[in-house]
Amino acid sequence: MGNDNLVEIRDLHKYFKKLEVLKGINMNVRRKDVVCLLGPSGAGKSTLLRCINRLEEPTSGKIFIDGDEITAHGIDLNLMRSEVGMVFQHFNLFPHLTALGNCTLALMKVKKLDKTQARDLGMEMLNQVGLANKAESKPRQLSGGQQQRVAIARALAMDPKLMLFDEPTSALDPELIGEVLDTMISLAEKGMTMIVVTHEMGFARKAASRLCMLDHGVILEDSTPEQIFTAPSHPRTKEFLSKIL
């Protein structure tokens, strides 16, 4: 149980009915690592990410977060999830709540903060993503980029050990992508451990400490961005990179 590793994944398999989507994943994520998961669609990147907070149930294998086995029987799933933040491709903001309301809901229900504490914390988070002035706006009044930043604030408000990003910019118009990536970069610079599924190579180059290349449910390569971009070892990696760069 390495204390250096925030996340350990051991021999993770995932089947959807008869289809094996993850074929024995082994992976460690150290504290403050920013890991980008790359690969063609259908490779299993999102599935892997969602297994980490058990939104998808692993079929077999073990996952450890900060030394605790989260795939064990009888663990408090809700507690675990409150310590792992997730940002979704389609934001999934709660439309009936304001931006601030989105941030404070879980603070009050899960962390049992009182209304004032929750509001203060929520405002601080919105401030961090630069949207304090939109605290009382409803999601439909915000642009896509703003919505996603609120979603990041919502996840950050829970003070997570780890942040998971599932294609955070794929649903955004091009001109709005920058503001979200900037937010993610500043988060990385502050030392947050992040696992990001993305196609944004610029971000990967700039902010990632590690790149993981997935294809057909298997990790092909796992090393630094420089290594992978300049000298990829696996032929399929070369193929994939040539297509998107």
Partner: protein, 221 residues
């Protein structure tokens, strides 16, 4: 014309029947209110339970819902009132009516709430769970508040139907409005009480009819 007024709108008869009609109205209102409340709560409970996705529970709920939407309510009234005593459950008329209306109503409300819950994007549940909210918190703080808008038109329409169905209690001789009107009609040999009852129902329910139309137009498909 005079015949119509004499027979249908006879003031004298109306005055003599007014107490009976008033009693009937009270019973109808109590029955409607209580049954509606219970049916909505039961339907909501069933819909939430169904969302747990437990296969055994789901089969039971589906059987219940299909059965009681297929069985005519009037038959249900009679089954509850006339046959349950054989099982040792002898409910007085009022409670038989409440039970029958609740059983029938809950089946319809379950379907309405279920459609509402299922219309909410799965991503909402995922985001809530990812934050650490449990099933109940997710249901009541995230899903149901959003489902209300979707559910309002059919729920109002169904509530209207349930209130209209209270009239069936007359077949098990519960002294609700129409039964009292029939009694008055019998003893006073004039159809005026019947017309009066019809008009009272009209006054009571017409606003709901208009409300339903408005809601369906505003929030409808």
């Amino acid at each position: 014309m005079e015949a119509i007024i004499y027979n249908f709108f006879n003031i004298e008869v109306l005055l003599r029947a007014r107490y009976l009609l008033w009693l009937g109205l009270q019973v109808t209102l109590k029955l409607a209110f209580l049954s509606l409340l219970l049916a909505i709560l039961a339907g909501l409970l069933l819909a939430v339970l169904r969302h747990l996705n437990n296969p055994v529970l789901n089969v039971l709920i589906i059987i219940y819902v299909d059965l009681f939407r297929a069985l005519p309510t009037i038959v249900l009234f009679m089954l509850v009132y006339f046959t349950w005593p054989y099982f040792g459950i002898s409910l007085p008329r009022y409670w038989s009516a409440v039970v029958a209306l609740m059983i029938n109503g809950a089946a319809y409300f379950e379907e309405i709430f279920r459609a509402g819950i299922e219309s909410i994007d799965r991503g909402q549940t995922e985001a809530a769970r990812a934050l650490g909210l449990n099933f109940t918190q997710t249901m009541f703080s995230v899903i149901l508040p959003q489902a209300v808008k979707v559910v309002l038109p059919p729920a109002t329409s169904n509530s209207l139907e349930l209130i209209k169905t209270t009239v069936l209690a007359s077949v098990i001789a519960l002294p609700e409005l129409m039964r009292q009107a029939q009694q008055a009609h019998g003893s006073l040999a004039s159809p005026t009480p019947l017309i009066a009852a019809a008009l009272i129902y009209l006054v009571l329910l017409w606003p709901l009819v208009r409300l339903t139309s408005y809601l369906e137009k505003t929030y409808g498909k």
